[in-house]
């Protein structure tokens, strides 16, 4: 699941996970930048604003490699469904916005497993900003791209930075065949479209096998 902050992708992911689990599918959720391995370095770097676009990018790649080997590949081998809240495309979009070379990024992430389905929740920058501000979410320094020094205002910087991230995502849609969901619609409508996409890509077997065959 891809999309900028405020696109609603985490909400959509949670609803999808509920549905899949209820249907009896073993699901594992993994989140961007969540491995314990790089937590200390990311925290130190963020606190001191010491991260450059390159070190930020490499730390995310390290996090991804760690989760790939521990949280993504084993469940795939065990026949489970891995739901990734952000994937390599996040790096392609964000890091390129920060000025990291696009080709270098693609080669860097060439160790990643290509997902069976990549869904991009596309939302205009005004909508995502309104959603975040309505929830009184405090915009974070790096998410707002404050490290780029484009604006001293957190909100203005967020709009500028995430606006450019949106442009990068648009390039990725064709390049990687991302399935686009219009993330302006209602939560329920988006979830309906999302489930339809997932159904197409997964062999969801009807749960009507006679029990005696298992005996």
């Amino acid at each position: 699941m891809e999309g900028i902050d405020g696109s609603g992708k985490t909400t959509q992911l949670a609803l999808l996970a509920k549905w899949l689990s209820a249907a009896g599918h073993p699901v594992l959720v993994t989140e961007w930048n969540s491995s314990a391995l790089v937590k200390a370095a990311t925290k130190t770097g963020k606190k001191k604003n010491a991260l450059t676009p390159m070190t930020f990018s490499l730390l995310h790649a390290t996090d991804f490699a760690d989760r790939l080997l521990y949280n993504i590949i084993p469940p795939l081998k065990a026949g489970m469904i891995v739901l990734a809240d952000r994937y390599a495309y996040t790096a392609f979009a964000r890091d390129a916005t920060r000025g990291v070379d696009r080709n270098w990024l693609r080669e860097l992430y060439s160790f990643a497993v290509r997902p069976d389905l990549a869904v991009y929740f596309r939302v205009p920058i005004d909508v995502s900003t309104d959603r975040l501000l309505a929830r009184r979410v405090k915009l974070k320094f790096y998410e707002a791209g404050m490290d780029m020094g484009w604006s001293n205002s957190l909100v203005d910087s967020f709009r500028l930075f995430q606006g450019k991230v949106l442009d990068e995502y648009d390039r990725l849609v064709d390049e990687f065949g991302l399935s686009v969901v219009d993330a302006v619609g209602s939560i329920t409508e988006q979830q309906r479209i999302f489930r339809k996409l997932v159904t197409q890509h997964l062999e969801i077997e009807p749960n009507d096998e006679p029990l005696d065959e298992l005996a």
């Binding site: 370095a41 450059t52 070190t55 390290t62 070379d101 080669e107």
Partner: protein, 252 residues
């Protein structure tokens, strides 16, 4: 904007890059063309006396009036605690191992090396990306991938490789600090016998370095010789290089 004219982005880090330019795609937001500083890398396994040689070189260069900074592997403020922690807790796999080192290098490159080059310093690097490549190579990481990863590195002006034979290497490491888990390649599960694992690992490392010598234009020095003999040789070659690139040199 970018600095690709003379490097070969498709290949990432590999021979053919002009000294002082990026090996591969580079860092687009940091153009480095025309910076006056120089990078001199001293490579080699453990026990070859790199830090002694660098200390002596620094002294010699400063007396001649050159500004010198030193940089070394895993010395970045950002990454050192994480790398130490990760090594201690054995949670690294070969990919995260490689990527943590690359992050450390990127941090030092942007914060120490590039500013120093811009200001005209001579950067003496205790190990360079070749150490990372050798360690990754031993662990079976894809060669093309790691070269592409280090495409953001700058090709040094000079790379000296202090070379030891396997037997001398093993004796020197045992004499100095002994075997540790990672330098013994215990993560590679080459065997339960730590000495055999250590030996196999060091042998494989030597092979990796040797395989890079031509590709990256290593200047080979026999590290079994006396410290002062090696130092004289380093000074002779560095002196010739600096005289040529300065035109005249600072003079004494």
């Amino acid at each position: 904007m970018t600095n690709r004219s003379t490097s070969s982005p498709e290949d990432g880090a590999s021979g053919g890059a002009r000294p002082g330019s990026y090996y591969g795609y580079g860092i687009p937001y940091l153009p480095i063309d025309g910076y006056p500083g120089k990078i001199i890398a001293i490579e080699g396994t453990d026990g070859v006396g790199r830090s002694t040689q660098i200390r002596l070189l620094r002294e010699w260069l400063e007396i001649q009036g050159y500004g010198v900074i030193e940089t070394g592997w895993t010395r970045s403020e950002l990454m050192q605690p994480t790398i130490n922690l990760a090594k201690a807790s054995n949670t690294l796999n070969k990919l995260t191992f490689v990527l943590l080192y690359a992050t450390d290098f990127a941090d030092r490159l942007e914060k120490e090396i590039i500013p120093a080059l811009k200001a005209g310093f001579i950067v003496l690097s205790d190990r360079y990306i070749y150490t990372a490549m050798a360690r990754a190579g031993v662990r079976g990481v894809d060669r093309q991938w790691i070269r592409s990863l280090y495409g953001f590195a700058i090709a040094p002006h000079l790379v000296f490789y202090l070379k030891l034979d396997e037997k001398t290497l093993i004796r020197r490491v045992l004499q100095s600090r002994g075997m540790d888990y990672w330098e013994s390649g215990m993560d590679l599960k080459l065997g339960d016998d730590i000495y055999e694992s250590f030996r196999a690992y060091q042998r494989a490392l030597l092979r990796e370095y040797a395989s890079m010598a031509d590709e990256f234009g290593f200047r080979m020095l026999d590290a079994r010789r006396r410290i002062d003999v090696i130092q004289d040789e380093l000074r002779r070659q560095i002196g010739a290089f600096l005289a040529e690139s300065d035109g005249v040199g600072v003079g004494v």
